[in-house]
Symmetry: C2
Subunit: 237 residues, 2 copies
């Protein structure tokens, strides 16, 4: 393609980044999402060991590789913003690992439900925050959260497992509720500890934010979407 008549190097940042508070908040957010992707890579690879067939194992490896691709995009953007990507991720290691330690799947199906329900919840949450950000960052976040093919695969496998043995449905429904509870508990902890992220949600003089009522509505949307996903899996929310 010919060069654009008005040169706009990729490293030119939107004007919003001239505010250091905004820059710090975006670095924090991208750091959280990037570590989430790296952690998703690790979890999906690990769950692949529980796969009942080579084909299922390969499918989980494919999802993991897709998540790693998203991680690379986020890491590159963090570097463009002048941040050390690994420093930006570091504060999120403990809460993510705490979440994974408390929700280690006992078997293949629990791993699948976690991939679908957990990633879906995280994606909903980050997409909500992205609406308060500049267009470049918003696009990057939305693309990073694109479904890596989990949904169709997980829905198919979980629904057929319930057909084979309806008792599986009760156990996985409990598991889904537990995942939601642990995720919210870790998210609250992150929100309480990361001032830059909280400031982003609260807004600024020249930036819209969320008041308590808006945060309440956000919470309702997250739980509604979670119930919808459980329903899609054939599980009582």
């Amino acid at each position: 393609m010919a060069e654009s008549p008005v040169g706009t190097p990729a490293t030119d940042l939107p004007v919003a980044f001239s505010d250091p508070v905004y820059l710090a908040a975006v670095v924090d957010l991208l750091g959280a999402i990037a570590y989430g992707e790296l952690s998703a890579f690790e979890r999906l690879s690990e769950d692949g060991k529980l796969a009942p067939s080579l084909k299922d194992k390969a499918e989980l490896a494919r999802m993991a590789s897709t998540e790693f691709g998203h991680f690379e995009g986020l890491r590159n953007r963090l570097a463009e913003l002048g941040a050390d990507p690994f420093d930006a991720m570091q504060p999120f290691v403990t809460p993510f690992e705490a979440f994974h330690a408390r929700t280690a799947p006992a078997d293949w199906l629990e791993g699948l439900v976690k991939a679908y329900v957990g990633d879906g919840l995280a994606a909903d949450f980050y997409r909500e925050i992205a609406m308060f950000l500049d267009a470049d960052t918003r696009t990057l976040i939305v693309e990073s959260l694109a479904d890596a093919g989990q949904s169709k695969f997980v829905i198919d496998r979980v629904r057929s497992a319930i057909v084979d043995d309806p008792r599986v449905g009760g156990r996985l429904a409990l598991w889904g509720r537990r995942l939601m509870g642990e995720a919210l508990s870790q998210a609250q902890r992150v929100a309480a500890e990361r001032d830059a992220l909280s400031a982003l949600l609260a807004g600024g003089v020249d930036r819209p934010g969320m008041d308590l009522a808006a945060i309440g509505r956000l919470f309702t949307r997250l739980t509604d979407n979670h119930s919808q996903r459980m329903d899609t899996l054939g599980l009582a929310p």
Copy 2:
């Protein structure tokens, strides 16, 4: 791009594949390499958990994703050859898993040496066999075995660990010898069990093969290259 004037669909197979013995041998070989790549993906992901830093963890995840990309190329080729890729891989699950069970790294450095020495040995072996094959298959194999960036990374990490603590060198040298022994033992087992692969090495009326003297020279080349790699790592072969 414009279409080529002489259409050559990717599914057109070289004439060598009209020989069912040749086809079976190539399916066997690609099945072995494909499972090796999937298994490398799993092992590199697993070793990433031992990484001393987030940056090292991300580097192992990158290598794992590269191996998965190679796996996808092999799987697609197996399908083009009319084989079920997962059936083709199945006979190699047991020997590969036996190798990995016997060579589970005790720490981060052992994992790195295994990635470098083990993948190097496997790549040498498959490249030798690929010389007896049609050009398409040979190219696919050589591309699948391309260094996923292990070499530079591993050499750097292992050499600096030895500088920090020279005793590490003695332990890793022993480890390298053990890896070589276990790999040869599993390779012999595969060769003894897979008639199609052995037939490929032995050649046919219209295809060159290896006599015992040639197999002896192959073995010498493999061990020479192994010693070279150990030397590059700063380890006594």
